[in-house]
Every structure is written in C-alpha cells, then in structure tokens.
Point group: C2
DNA sequence: GAATATTAGTTGCAGGAACAACTAATGTCA
DNA sequence: TGACATTAGTTGTTCCTGCAACTAATATTC
C-alpha cells in the first residue's frame, strides 16, 4: 500500500482543511457508524437500515400511519412506502385499514416482527454502547447537548 | 398537516428510542447538514459533494494521485474515478501522467478549478461557521474531541 | 353541491454509492 | 526469466435515495 505524501501541501490561497471541516467529519463518522450497523442488520436478518428504523419506531409507537412513520423517522415517504411493502410481504408488519378514512391505515409489528425486533434491538444497543464506552458520563451528556444544538442549527434554513 | 399521535407508546419489551439512538442522531445530523450544502454546490456550481471534496483535498495537497485522493477523502475509488473524469472533462483539474510508472498520474486543480474553488470555499466555510456559531469556544473544542473519540471507536472493527 | 385544495400513499425515474470484475502496469521471488 | 501477486485506475451492475408525478380519498370554499 502506498503511503500518503508528506509535506507536499502548498498554501496558495487559503485551503479548506477537509479533515477538520465539521460537515465532512460528521459525514465520515455517520458513514463509518452506519455502514457497520447496516451490514450487520443486512447480513444477519436481511433487513435494511430504513426497514430497521421503521420497525424500531413501530415498536415504540405501535399503530401509527405510514405518514407518521415518515415524520418520526424522517425517512422520505417513497422510501417508507417501499420498505413497508417489503416488511408486509415478509409478514413482519401488519396493516389495518381505517374504516372512517379510507386513505389511512395503521401499521404495527406482527408477532414475527416483534420476535425479529427483539433479536435485533440488543445488537443495535450494543453498537451504541461500544461507540460511547470510552466516554465519561459528562462527555456523554455533553455530546448529546452538542448534537441537539447542531441539529437545531442545521434545520434552520 | 397531521400531528403526531400523543401517548400511544406501549412498553411491550424494551423499546429502542430511535430519537435518542446515537447512530440515528448522527445519521440525521449528517444528512441534514450535507443535503443543504450539497444542494448549494450543485445548484450554484454544478458540483457534486464528492467532486467538491476532491477539489478541496487537491487544493490542500496538489499533485497527488487518484489513489491518494481516495485515502485522504475516504471516497470509494470508483466514485473518485468518475468524479475525476467529470472534473477533467470540465477542465477543473489537470492530470499529469507519471513517466516512470505508467499506472500512476497526479492530479491538481487547473486555473479554472482554482477559481471555482475560491468561490466555493467561502460558502463552505460559512456553512460550518453558521453551524457552530451558537457554540462557545469550549463547546467547539469539546465537540471536536468527542467526534475524534467516536470516529476512533467506530473504526475499530 | 360543484370546483378546488389537501392528504395518504404508490410508482416512475434519474442520480449517486458500493462492490466486484476487469485492464494494464509494476513488483516479487523462486 | 517466468509465474504469481500487487497496485492504479476504469467500468459494469445493482441497490438506494429523493424528487416529482400520479391515484384515490377527504376537506374546504364559494
């Protein structure tokens, strides 16, 4: 493997240091974390990341509509639609159509879905645990506050 | 717009709270930040996110190979290959083939590329600035340290 | 109550990313 | 030297995402 060149950096104008550029670091971190987790879900259970998130949100909030799943997971509605279709086909979810409003239906984990959820959930938790295991209590709190602040700032258009 | 249901959460097993699950929060934040930035680069300059990153790394480290670009930006090599091809076609980059090793070539920003870079760079910086403007000096330092720790942890397989 | 707007959800499609297979050049080692 | 391995980079393919257009149902407004 070739090593990276040393000291061939030229200051011409004012270079943006990509390695320390916050949006890049966030992207890299998220990507590193997610790709590990996604590969595990996929390999062991054949479940994609959005599928897993939908299952997780339905475990927490059963019997909500696809639209509410979108709002809660922030997953785009076409992605939710297709993910829900796959989960229904695999009988991991159930859908109940609303009699009074025929546009609406509510979704929930099936018994099988709950079983799968109960298998995946501890794995998800252990990923998070490992990620923060070196952090002190204070650091974890601080991280959480900082992420919230950044999220708030990022959402202001 | 329909409001989210209140209080229909059932504790059946032990739900994973998606909203506070760190990998999810990182993904959401990164996505929120990146999609804003990417849209700006795309709309104003017709440059994709990987293209911009490649330009930024070449501004910092001129005359490196495509392979070194991969290592430094962590962008997958096929993505780099195609992005570089587009940037070359638009004459934003120059490529010099290595005489002694015909596999290798080194890349650098062209004059035009530098001009574009000089236009985009302040915009990139202002995005970052806005993102962290509400944070104190201490919080910024803390954030940086925490992100490094998480990145290190995430990279251990 | 008819025209229009909005909402829930699906589908078509285009662009991007990941992985593998591939070409071509160079390195290694018997 | 010759077989094999490695490296740089390209291309094919598949999957995923996001936007927009669409259908069907309900709400609104005049």
């Amino acid at each position: 493997m070739s090593t990276l060149s040393q000291n061939n950096m030229k200051k011409h104008r004012k270079p943006l240091k990509l390695e320390s550029f916050l949006p890049y670091r966030l992207s890299l971190l998220s990507n590193t974390v997610s790709s590990n987790i996604a590969a595990t879900y996929q390999d062991k259970f054949g479940i994609s990341m959005p599928e897993w998130r939908i299952m997780a949100i339905l475990a927490e909030y059963p019997d909500i509509s696809a639209d509410e799943v979108c709002q809660r997971t922030r997953i785009e509605k076409s992605v939710v639609s297709r993910a829900v279709a796959r989960l229904l086909a695999r009988h991991l979810l159930g859908r109940t159509f609303d009699e009074s409003d025929k546009r609406r239906s509510s979704l929930c984990l099936s018994e099988t879905g709950l079983t799968v959820y109960d298998e995946v959930m501890p794995i998800a938790e252990s990923f998070e645990k490992k990620l923060i295991e070196k952090l002190t209590k204070e650091e974890r709190l601080s991280l959480s506050i900082l992420l919230d602040k950044l999220q708030n700032e990022a959402e202001i258009k």
